[in-house]
Symmetry: C2
Subunit: 190 residues, 2 copies
């Protein structure tokens, strides 16, 4: 997605060979109109897949997931991190490890929001080692719903998570696949 | 907001005299088109206030904040909970206590996203004791930006947070002010 790549080059900051900071428009401050365009683009890549629901994980995937859900006219679920006091005992859970935060966290989805007749599209802002995506795939499997695939805003291809998930049969559409951040320079795969 | 109140009566579950569960459309599963309507309604109540940015706190305020930002055509910032490894040292922070989760958490906003020339609208899904809102007001004060007010989807008026904040001069617009959950019944203030 050309406008996204241009925005990354203009506003993104390469903090190390693995860390790309895009907090001015994606995961701390959001540009709502631009986020709607990201959602429309993800939706267009899955428009023939009869998606019934979108699943993301809190927090930074929510805005793009909502934009995608609006474009596909389907509900959006965000998996929550750790059990809240008001949560139902009836939940699907998975444990994910965040390399950025160096901590493991449990994510959960109330089981009444996912059913075997659903066809789920996963949406997230970043794909790196793929931990969050693996956790969501795990939850979809537990629910016996079908998995349409995953729509990702920025994939750091060189960190391997996407490759492993594709090899396991998950269709992944990345709007901006980054092949390298070496030397402080953002290179895109295509 | 009539359609919101009807949706609360239809889909909400009163779990106790203080807990109203609305996870089917507001804070776990989201109805994107309905969320857009919530955002438009909040925006309409502040349309003459020259809002320059919206501030919410992750995670469940993000969808409504984005819808409001889209309607007002301004950026949305979501305060993050606790410091991530990639965060800038240059941040405004505040500590908030969650009665629901029985834990304190630090929220922070990168200081470059708020400036004294900004006029900030706070947005959140719930207002109960007002802890999250107080934390956001604190952050806005630190930045020396102006505060336009707060747009809230559901205010549990009987828990007093809104009253305390209004007395301190904060304008609060609640789309569904709940006066009581006693006896498993949702009563609205007006």
């Amino acid at each position: 997605m050309k406008v996204l790549k241009e925005k990354i080059l203009r506003e993104g900051k390469v903090l190390s060979d693995t860390v790309l900071k895009v907090d001015s428009f994606l995961n701390h401050q959001i540009d709502p109109a631009f986020t709607m365009d990201l959602g429309k683009e993800i939706a267009s890549r899955f428009e023939k897949d009869s998606v019934t629901k979108i699943l993301t994980v809190e927090a930074s995937g929510i805005a793009v997931a909502m934009a995608t859900g609006l474009a596909l006219n389907v509900p959006v679920i965000f998996a929550k991190k750790k059990r809240a006091a008001t949560a139902d005992p009836n939940v699907y859970t998975s444990t994910i490890y965040s390399f950025t935060k160096d901590e493991s966290v449990d994510i959960y989805v109330n089981s009444r929001f996912l059913s075997p007749s659903d066809n789920i599209l996963l949406v997230d802002d970043f794909l790196a080692q793929g931990e969050a995506l693996k956790g969501m795939v795990d939850i979809v499997k537990q629910s016996k719903a079908s998995l349409a695939g995953a729509g990702i805003v920025i994939e750091k291809v060189f960190q391997g998570g996407g490759q492993a998930l594709r090899q396991s049969g998950v269709r992944i559409e990345s709007l901006a696949p980054v092949s390298s951040l070496a030397g402080g320079k953002v290179l895109f795969e295509n």
